[in-house]
Subunit: 313 residues, 4 copies
């Protein structure tokens, strides 16, 4: 069985889920996408995260994704799987499903839909840890779950070995730094993985001491993020900044749909990533899941211009 490095370092892309026009998982496209990512030097794969449209996938489709990716990578590199659901009992069902399908770690958010007290959030992670056969990562994503994991609770759970790592998509780099620093200095915390999900400040997060990054945009340009990671590791901050700024410019593609007012930022971003993968020949169809509004042909063309400017077409 694949043993997860502790900490896990490098680029861990949150893998998009290619769909057929009917909304089924497009398995051949998913396999090509995995090859595209692995071939670029990523360290691990994160399936069934927000960029994977996990919230839009039925249980059967979620399972199909983990099975496909797990079988294809066959232990070459670790597969982390999101277990995104409202509360502990429902999340545990996903833990069972994704670990049966081969996931090497699970990534769980705080409860959502319900209003949950901080003590209940900590209890949620402790319960998951005690019942999961694989390591549990916390997924801090306030924009989706409407609560923020504090550095204190994350470090407490890390010291208890309830959590193996953190995937931070909060956008709060000061709070992120507190976890990074605590993971290095707190007695009792060892081997804890701290990953940033903020694709526009990966250089800053790595400079602070983060172990790695989970950038949605790495679907589109995995080689760019792998390069960025290596430059940071080498302490070449000047060139790292230039690479990061290039990626920030490429990221501008996510606004093409939203700026028309026809859709929100999430559909616009997911649509752009898939359009880019389609234009780069990685996936067969750029469709996103229902009920999302899709990009227009003109907006897809706009994505192409971003790719061209970035030298990716």
């Amino acid at each position: 069985m694949t043993v997860l490095a502790a900490p896990l370092t490098g680029v861990v892309p949150p893998v998009c889920t290619p769909l057929t026009p009917e909304g089924e998982v497009d398995v051949p496209s998913l396999v090509r996408l995995v090859d595209h990512l692995v071939g670029s030097g990523v360290s691990a794969l994160f399936v069934l995260g927000s960029s994977s449209e996990a919230a839009y996938l039925t249980d059967a489709r979620r399972r199909r994704v983990v099975e496909t990716v797990g079988a294809h990578v066959a232990g070459q590199l670790p597969v982390l799987a999101g277990v995104i659901d409202m509360t502990t009992p429902r999340v545990l069902d996903h833990v069972r499903s994704v670990t049966e399908a081969g996931a090497n770690a699970v990534v769980a958010t705080a409860p959502f839909y319900t209003s949950t007290h901080p003590a209940e959030i900590a209890r949620h992670f402790r319960l998951l840890a005690s019942r999961s056969p694989v390591p549990v990562f916390a997924y801090d994503i306030p924009v989706s779950v409407h609560s923020k994991l504090s550095a204190e609770v994350v470090l407490e759970l890390a010291a208890e070995r309830a959590l193996a790592g953190l995937k931070d998509s909060s956008g709060d780099l000061a709070g992120f730094r507190a976890v990074v620093t605590g993971a290095r200095t707190d007695a009792g915390v060892t081997g804890f993985t701290v990953l940033t999900g903020s694709e526009l400040v990966v250089d800053a997060a790595l400079a602070m001491g983060a172990d790695g990054a989970v950038p949605g945009l790495a679907n589109v340009d995995p080689a760019g993020y792998v390069r960025l990671h290596r430059l940071c590791r080498a302490g070449d901050w000047e060139r790292a900044r230039a690479e990061q700024e290039r990626l920030c410019e490429l990221f501008g593609m996510v606004r093409l749909g939203a700026q028309t007012g026809r859709m929100g930022g999430s559909s616009s971003a997911l649509g752009a990533f898939k359009a880019a993968l389609y234009l780069r020949g990685v996936i067969a169809c750029p469709v996103t899941a229902e009920p999302q509004v899709g990009l227009s042909d003109g907006e897809i063309e706009g994505v192409g211009k971003f790719l061209a400017r970035a030298g990716l077409l």
Copy 2:
């Protein structure tokens, strides 16, 4: 098959889900709870709503609930079932499950976890309607899904026959009134059901023209709400107000847990309803689902005092 009245009127309690200490559905208790409600004169039952802890129930437990209730009421009165999940494809899986298990209508929220554009929310309900074998009610619950259904979109979907009714838990009585008035006056809207989920202003909602109410507290005192509904229908507003104020006082039980700071308002309220059902001898065990913090013995005693003052012990 049970035909749903259009509009559906009266008291439609959101049925609590009794659990065993292990967290399984306590079927005998659920059957007693249904008898307790039906015997008090309610018009229909709403299972798998927020008061039912639907967010905490695995798919298997959700299905057990619908099957149990459906089999037990056996068509005497309609069963509405919540299909609470993040997006259209996942909700449709629940629609399939609950209708196979006998639900006469489904109650769906706007998408959550993801950020969804108003156009996508409307699309979500249209897609559900086109694929559901039973009528679809919209469940407006901004505190959980972090978006509000506007009166405009609800009435538009009502005119299209995509929605059969609204369960409003938004607390926004002015917006609710716009739907109630529109349902009465808009050309093209007929038979649309407007239900309030705000247990503390049921008299006001009925005075405005609402068809009925879905009060969580009706688990504890169904006879009180049935009486309140009848007084309002009879235009006896003086006695309706007195009955409503008595129920408002009884509702104070929901704060017992939260005021200690050990838990939030949701766990405190669900715990109090279940403690009350336990103390009244309806269910066998007052436990709530994980990861919720439960009421202490002292807090359960406090619930008993509220029941005593209301003449319910």
Copy 3:
């Protein structure tokens, strides 16, 4: 000196502030507006509230408003004045100014801009009460100050005589009812005034036992709200509801600007009220304060159509 009734009952319009094209207070228009309101049978006037654009008025203009209105009504009916500012010391400066200018009571919000703890909010009102020469009303307006006054704290301050009344613009009718009921039943609370600022559910608020209403739309149709208040007092709920629904339809004017996307809901509503007063010949100019975007000529025409349908032109 005008003695404030305790409780104060009836319709208390939040008086719009007519401006000249240069943004100065248009004194003759303000005097005409006061006559328009007083002539319709309102009980008191509330100047420098949100509908008065108090947030947009310099201290000099605020003082001009109170002086003008105070001198013109000359004690015929009470004048309540908003003292809207961020914290206690700044609010106390306004208290001094408006009471020197003749205000009979002051209306203060919780602190804003700063993050304030509930204990500090209670302290704020206690400090204001101890230093104000006139009664203090609490102005509950979460949409502006981003905190909600709980019924508990309002009733506690009422029992201490720190607060003389509440102007509730929270839209939370269940919380409002808790104050209304508490003001009637709590030992130690006497003569406390509970006013709703929710113009679309005034009938419901009065049915619950509110003392009166502070509806922004009463600038446009004061006679309608006075009629509504009288019908409610007479227990003629059927006709009250019809009158309220007529006013709800008239209120539709507030959406004309916002639905174009050129401005937000606040500018759209304030612009519509002023356009209506202009079209009805009460004020000389419909301009709103900077930096608000104004209604277009077409949108002002639209306001006219609402007035015509309501028989107000």
Copy 4:
């Protein structure tokens, strides 16, 4: 007259406002504080910001602050003054006051209390710029004003010369980076100052290309921030990170009050900064303005421990 560098670089502390036990500005303490800051090598002073408790200061006290600081520094270094108020006309009154008292630039937030459309926010800054005799900086502080300035609008106003700079207290480092990069690369934007107010990630902000920092904690340890700034300018990122981490640990003092539940985070932080200045012998009295709850003696002792650990006592 002091000419503001364009861009302004270095450490620009948001100067605390020492108060007497009666709540008046403690002028001798303020003068000592200014000497403490200037002597440590800061580049400019920012008075009447959030850390200055500007929201709690009456107009007379605000003016006293600017006059005192302006007279004392006498043009040695620039003085920026906050003009924090709800809307354009009220802010312009403050612009007049602080520039008469000697401010070299003004720092203005988006409108607050009112709901303001993005177009109205841009209009607000344009109006301020057209009427201010000194440069206008935008103060992006969503936690206080409940709206976020987008990088797009900031850069547009920069290109128009309406804004001279940005003080970013949003905590959104990705958005901040977009402004920093745009200020460097956009045609038409020159000499625009980009300052971070996030004291815990100053190294990251400077690495991205920010011009300087406005850290509240610089009141307590100005020399530390000046050192940090110099290390960053020298490209010594290793030692910069160590210095920043030392400051992050010192910052822990802000939680002493809040963790008791007696007050919120804002009162706790302002109280800690003033307690530290008091313990370091800079100001005579650690009191904060009303209605804030103050630190207890034990909490002030706790602040002393943070100072001792940081070698500042």
